[in-house]
Amino acid sequence: MPVGYSIYVERPSYVHRRIDPRTKLAALGATFVFALAFNHPLPLALLMVAVLAIGRWATIPWRKMAPFLIGGTWFLVLGVMVWPLYVKGGPVLLTPFGIEYTLDGVLFGVAMGLRVALMVIAAGVWMMTTSPQRLTEGLLRLGLPHKAGIAMTAAIRFVPLLNAERVTIQEARQARALDLQRGNPFSRAVRSIAIIGPLFIRAIDVAQSLALAMDARGFGARDGRSSIVVLTFSRTDRVIVFVLLATCIAAVVGRLLGFGTITKDYL
């Protein structure tokens, strides 16, 4: 069972090594602001290209980005299917089952799909280019208490660990003739709930051993701690954060003036 560390992809790229995690966090925040500021597909599509370009610049292989791209595509499909039911305007493109799909509706659907996909993919690229240690250290420098920082790193560490536990518990139950494929989705869901009990017990077990092991190594003996990860907030970081802030303000102002929108009825 592979037990790894989050989805972080170790690469010697500029994005990984030289840009401060705080700057990257700001960039993620800015992407969210941009994504929510516009509801026209064009600026969102451009932003998507930019996010993917950063991912490629950081030499993240397409293969690693694929799950996020596939997820994004689903949001796109869903947006195009659902939003035209609510947003009408412009020429009618097609009328399946007597429902009018208008150009504006479809464009808005594409925009909404892109919006969610953008946030998901941006968060993915962010996590793949920022190691959990550097991220935690960045947050600590921003004022996060040490214990919360440890809790965060531990939580990231726990995800693959608990997933491995989940698979094992599931297998053990299958080995006792539990047929997970049988029945309707509801009864399948009910059957899989039973896994929560042992999973929690295992999680508490693991967490307790971890806490003991850390206490035994003197965690919390002093308030302040030094870190093996040294962060430097460079001039480039300052420039990036400044540019991000300026463009965020510009985007919000632009939105208020009506740029980059299809309709003013929705965000």
Binding site: Q174, R176, A177, L178, D179, G197, P198, I201
Partner: protein, 284 residues
């Protein structure tokens, strides 16, 4: 012989299997073939990472071989779900906490039989029988997770025994148990074996193997290094060294004393005692 060439007396028939976890990852098992007959009691030994558990998990279809075939009770494991194969091969996990999930002991043991869609009366009978076999009948209404480590291990075994699988795979049943707990589990497996059931036990415990198990399979580096009567396998130093294993202590003592005429394949304390008595009487 049945139509697929399976002999009816073979419980597990592994034919030249290889296995890898991911399509591009290296093979974990390299061309393993193994036949285990009904009613046998077999130990699989080998160092950590040798492939014992991987091999054992192919027996009940938890892992499907990458190439080659595994027949469990005559069924090709690739054609059946783990749930279906559970009728013929029971699998007890190394860590009972991976297996136990019901609140009460009784409910835990009933889970498997219930999945087999047995009648209520039949389930109750099997639960009672299984709990008696493992000496947990008095604890039937207790909380499963409040039992001690040894009792939880027994509960894990009981919950599989209640399904009455003709073949039982037990992964590291004595790890983390004291001598009494380990002996309890072994007595139980031995009893189950005398009922005509097939038992495959994965273990590191050489003493246990030497005293109880007639046939030993040594797994190393994803291959079967040795397979034969326990006495032959465990007294073969070169072979065990290849698998980074050591014979039981008693056997090592016997081997050191071989030049005084002590038979070097003594596996248990009574055997060595008898040997030494014989040699010493001869010397007097």
């Amino acid at each position: 012989m049945t139509s697929n060439g399976q002999r009816p007396d073979v419980a597990i028939d592994v034919d030249a299997i290889t296995f890898r976890y991911e399509p591009k990852s290296p093979d974990v098992l390299h061309g393993v073939s193994l036949q285990i007959h009904h009613g046998e009691f077999v130990a699989m030994i080998g160092q950590n990472g040798a492939g014992k558990t991987t091999l054992a998990k192919t027996f009940n279809g938890l892992l499907k071989p990458t190439t080659g075939t595994v027949l469990a009770g005559g069924t090709d494991t690739r054609t059946a779900s783990v749930g279906q194969l559970a009728r013929s091969v029971g699998y007890v996990y190394q860590n009972p906490d991976h297996q136990i999930f019901a609140q009460r002991v009784r409910a835990e043991v009933a889970f498997g039989p219930n999945n087999l869609k047995l009648s209520e009366a039949e389930v109750a009978e099997r639960v009672q029988e299984a709990l008696e076999l493992v000496d947990l009948a008095d604890h039937a209404d207790e909380f499963a997770f409040s039992l001690g480590r040894g009792q939880r291990q027994k509960l894990a075994v009981a919950s599989v025994l209640a399904m009455r699988p003709p073949t039982l795979v037990v992964d590291e049943p004595t790890t983390g148990l004291d001598q009494k707990g380990a002996k309890g589990i072994l007595d139980l497996l031995t009893r189950w074996n005398t009922h005509g059931r097939t038992i495959i036990v994965i273990t590191h415990d050489m003493t246990l193997v030497a005293e109880r198990v007639p046939r030993t399979v040594v797994v190393g580096g994803g291959r079967i290094i040795a397979d034969g009567p326990t006495r032959e396998v465990l007294s073969n130093q070169e072979l065990l060294a290849e698998a980074f294993l050591r014979p039981p202590q008693v056997t090592r003592v016997a081997q050191r004393l071989a030049r005084y005429g002590v038979a070097s394949d003594a596996l248990t304390v009574p055997e060595l005692h008898a040997e030494l008595s014989r040699v010493l009487r001869g010397a007097v």
